[in-house]
């Protein structure tokens, strides 16, 4: 019960910020995919920058644990291509679709229904994929610092510098 309340409160805050950032809209999502409006890229990268510093600080202090998913090249590469195709058609992603509905963009309903059907279809296909795509290129639970054999801050700090440079460039170009 406590976890359900945590989920609801976290969602309230997150949904509020998504709406304030104006990233829920179809026009913004398609704008990013068409490289015409980088609002979503700014929002996502800012979130990732703050998140990665905070989470790794807490990890260093032993207060939280990372949750790393296995890198399996087959399903990640094929799944990403398929997801991108669907995202371009729908114009909302799984999390933003419910937020878009909250903002009044009720075409998101059709997307939400489609995504429930898509999840059901995937559940049907899962046993077949377990024997095929999920055996292609399994690298296990790896991270960049681990693969490169460096401390995680050696990755985080240059990442932040690169993101800041990208932001300056985007603002200069008016994107």
């Amino acid at each position: 019960m406590k976890m359900l309340v945590y989920g609801l409160v976290t969602g309230l805050l997150f949904g509020f910020l998504l709406q304030k950032g104006r990233v829920l809209r179809y026009d913004k999502q398609l704008g990013a995919l068409r490289l015409k409006d980088m609002t979503i890229v700014k929002f996502m990268l800012s979130s990732v920058m703050v998140g990665m510093v905070g989470i790794y600080l807490l990890t260093d202090l032993g207060l939280v644990k990372l949750s790393i998913k296995a890198t399996i090249l087959g399903p990640v590469m094929i799944g990403a291509l398929v997801f991108g195709l669907g995202w371009g058609l729908l114009g909302y992603c799984p999390g933003t679709s419910v937020g878009a509905l909250g903002e009044g963009r009720w075409d998101a309903i059709w997307g939400i229904l489609g995504m429930i059907v898509g999840a059901g279809l995937f559940a049907e296909a899962y046993p077949l994929f377990q024997k095929t795509v999920y055996t292609w290129g399994n690298l296990g639970k790896i991270t960049l610092p681990q693969v490169l054999g460096v401390n995680h801050w050696v990755i985080i700090i240059p990442f932040i510098v690169a993101a800041m440079l990208l932001f300056f460039w985007l603002e200069k170009k008016g994107l």
Binding site: Y6, Y26, D27, V64, W110
Partner: protein, 132 residues
């Protein structure tokens, strides 16, 4: 920080959402995510028609059909966006997005519904395959 469209700077809103993500992991041990809940919802609906079948399916054993933290997170996103939109006067009932209307016309609601539904099926299939 206000922009012409009445919203906040995406850098500010994005950074604050990062703080929400950190607090969620710290306080509740939960990383933000959304797509797993669509699997749980599909399972809950299918359970209604054939509980025995659902109980035997490998994917619904892996991702149990239930209302959990993430499911409520999505309910929260809906409500949070609704509150933000209404209190700032940016709530707008719209069935055909502006960019879509520019290309296909204002009265292409059926086509928009079809594309959104098909896009949803395809996007979720891909997302689940990549486990994200």
């Amino acid at each position: 920080m206000k922009k012409q469209n009445g919203g906040w700077s995406p850098y500010l809103a994005g950074a604050l959402s990062g703080v929400v993500g950190i607090l969620s992991v710290w306080v509740a041990g939960q990383y933000l995510g959304a797509s797993t809940s669509f699997v749980r919802t599909a399972g809950l609906i299918e359970q209604f028609f054939g509980p025995e079948r659902v109980a035997k399916m490998a994917y619904f054993i892996k991702v149990a059909p239930k209302i959990d933290w993430q499911w409520m997170f999505l309910v929260g996103i809906f409500l949070g966006a609704l509150i933000s939109a209404i209190t700032s006067g940016s709530f707008k009932i719209q069935a055909v997005p502006d960019m879509w209307a520019k290309r296909f016309g204002r009265h292409s609601g059926v086509m928009r519904a079809g594309a959104a539904f098909a896009g949803g099926v395809i996007a979720m299939f891909g997302a689940r395959m990549a486990d994200g």
